[in-house]
Subunit: 337 residues, 3 copies
């Protein structure tokens, strides 16, 4: 069960309520209250769990969870005493259930006396600004935002409504949408890496674009997003970015795109909608990734990627070719031994 | 046009003035004032653009830019109404022009009452120190420096003149030169990763060197530079380091070396002058990279690299061999299908 | 010699004292005092150095160090005037000696008036809390801890005794052990990257676990450790983590495991005791790495790794196979040229 010192539960709910909000099918003959959610290994008789990755099928078989979201085809593997919530989307249903028990943390509005707010800044209603935060001239912060401790927001930055920015972030040269979550230690809007080499040496290229972040975007800790050099750097609505990701100047990222940790996207790369990017992937600059493409972890993309394609390897090639390559090299090694 | 809320323009300039500072050749029969710079796609009739990467040749052909830096051989591709600034270094000339319209941001000197400055610290003239910054005992900061909000500078650190350190940085055990730009969230001078293993277990090796940073160096957000274990960690004059780079203890980097984002350089590696390093490259420790070498993105260098050589792949090999390898494996896969 | 502005020496010691604490063998006929430690290239006649990596054998031959830790078999290579400390663990012995001359920095206890401490927080004896630090409700900090400037510790976090947390860190949802060193800019306890995709779109999975960090752990600058989704994320006693490492939700890391910089460990990966991980290595989720395994730099682990095995490459394979593969491809390229 989640540790009550850190997580606040909203209440207890009937199995039928959970079935109703998730669309899962239950045996209604034994409706009863549940007190929370937990993983298969830890859940008790009043907790709800889920089986999504079949690696954990054996954990299901011995779980003491009182109820469990499970696909129809694995239902027979559950212990007989377990109440089943049958769904084809067990992880999604679990997420909705966990949100019901543990909704996003509320906060008391209020501006810390230790925050520094410029007089020309415009702060919405029900905003919380924590100790040590620095809000500069002409910044606009919408209603219901939470700005974490020691975060620094430079002049003229605009932040939409109900956006949460963690502690120790810096933002400059940026326009941020509504319902965005920016975790701790994120740096947005600094100069891109722009230098021009000529006969007289290297000179700095002024970085004259912004960072535009859509609605419902989430950005992980330690991630850096450089502002554009000429064009803006843009992150589309509903895209989710993990920790320690590097996004270079002029990069354009579409909507509903997921980017795993430590990925690096070089300048002027365009990434479409619904793209899935594995951890530590890299993209060289000035290329285009089509909608719905998938890139494996540690892949290195140097060319345009067609919409819907799945690529892996460095340099990245179609994933089946990459698997063939790996298998072929493995066989050659064995043959020669 | 750059957003005037974020960027301050110095004025308007005649085409002939721009030609004069960049050495570009123009048709003097139609000299007139220009109001700024913009990318080919966005520029209007009173703005100056540039064509460098020929991927954007089609953008040139339909651009509404009033003037454009372009190489002689592409001049014929420009719209007839566009005024041409002919140069063999269009990107460099654009950079000089953008610097003219948008010079480095000025700042008002002054020490925030919310900054903490040790009495023994020595602060030069015309220095700006922002809210929440912490300047410890015996720190020396030269004239014209700007220390960002919530940045922490530990005891005895010395910073030269006209150096700018962004918000949320930490520096200890460091000597920093003049005209250095350190972006936000950079950590310099912490312990290197030094542990000795013996029969009695693992013990920490005291890290007793410094970090020495030359003049005109630029360091990107989130980058970490560990101090030396015995020798110092050094970054030579005019080298430029991108975001989220890791530089281990005792690393020596020469002058005019460019290091792209997320590169990692393990301890005691020596990198020469004028080296170009792609993103996510890695260097194992105790190796030497010669002057003028080039390392491809995601390369993994495990041996010394000769001066002037270009390497790619992991483990890194001469770039032509790497391209051959990639091509050969591609053919083998096709043959077997 | 370490710069006395930055490093405080505890005193001078007789060669016999150094031999005694390290177990090294010396020629007792010429016992005398030494003033410190230094690398072979820099050490003077009253300083002690070491030879561990035989790459530096030629530096030994011309070193002016007064004394040197060296393995028996290389003793003959040392200059005749150098006093030898013979040991089979020269690096370990050097570390113990450097600790003797330069013990871990002491600090004066005290809470900065510019720190914000919640009334419900419990702060032990002899604790130092620096300017701008924010300590929230119900936080517990044990005796002898040092919390750096502008670090933010969220509600209910517990920190053991004699733990040092650098400046500009954030901690939430965490229990931290004794004698832990957390360097600057580390972020611990933020949401893992958890999203569930369903027919209705993407939804956020509440992250309901903690981060549990054992005793004597060291964590490098810029590293991010996400809290668990259901299970906790755990780091075992005596494990050491370098800079800019990403540790995903539910990851379990054993004891005495060493993780080099920029490594990324995806969610729910289990890593055993005594594992050695090179820089920029990656681990896909839901896999297990056995005790004592070794993973090369830039390796990409996608499957379980047996205890004691050494793997390299991406996808990672047994290291000998990887070396064979590299050699074989090299030969094929040459043959075809």
């Amino acid at each position: 069960m989640p540790d009550s010192r850190f997580f606040t539960k909203s209440g207890e709910f009937l199995l039928s309520e959970i079935a109703s909000i998730t669309g899962a099918t239950i045996d209604l003959s034994n409706d009863r209250k549940f007190s929370g959610v937990a993983p298969l290994e830890n859940a008790g008789s009043d907790e709800i769990s889920f089986l999504d990755n079949i690696k954990y099928l054996s954990a299901l078989e011995v779980s003491k969870a009182g109820a469990c979201f499970v696909r129809e085809k694995y239902a027979a593997r559950a212990p007989k005493t377990m109440q089943l919530l049958i769904t084809e989307e067990p992880y999604y249903a679990y997420a909705i259930t966990a949100q019901k028990f543990y909704p996003q943390e509320n906060f008391a509005a209020g501006i810390s006396p230790q925050a520094q707010i410029a007089r020309s800044a415009s702060i919405g209603k029900n905003v919380r600004i924590d100790s040590g935060a620095v809000i500069s001239e002409n910044v606009k912060i919408g209603d219901g935002c939470w700005i974490g401790a020691n975060t620094v927001i430079d002049k003229s930055v605009e932040i939409g409504e109900h956006t949460r920015i963690g502690s120790l972030c810096s933002l400059s040269h940026s326009i941020v949408g509504n319902n965005v979550i920016i975790h701790r230690g994120v740096h947005i809007g600094q100069d891109g890496f722009g230098f021009a080499a000529g006969k007289k040496g290297i000179t700095k290229v002024p970085q004259l674009g912004l960072v535009i972040i859509g609605n419902n975007v989430e950005i992980g800790s330690g991630t850096c997003i450089d502002r554009g050099a000429g064009h803006n750097t843009t992150i589309g609505d509903n895209s989710k970015i993990d920790n320690l990701v590097q996004i270079g100047h002029n990069v354009q990222i579409g909507r509903y795109t997921m980017i795993a940790a430590q990925t690096g996207i070089a300048g002027s790369t365009h990434i479409g909608d619904g793209v899935m990017i594995g951890g530590q992937a890299g993209f060289s600059g000035h290329t285009t990734v089509g909608n719905g493409a998938k890139l494996a972890a540690q892949s290195g993309t140097m060319t345009d990627i067609p919409a819907g394609a799945t690529y892996g390897g460095s340099p990245a090639i179609p994933i089946l070719d990459w698997h063939r390559q790996t298998a072929m090299i493995g066989k050659l090694i064995k043959k020669r031994n």
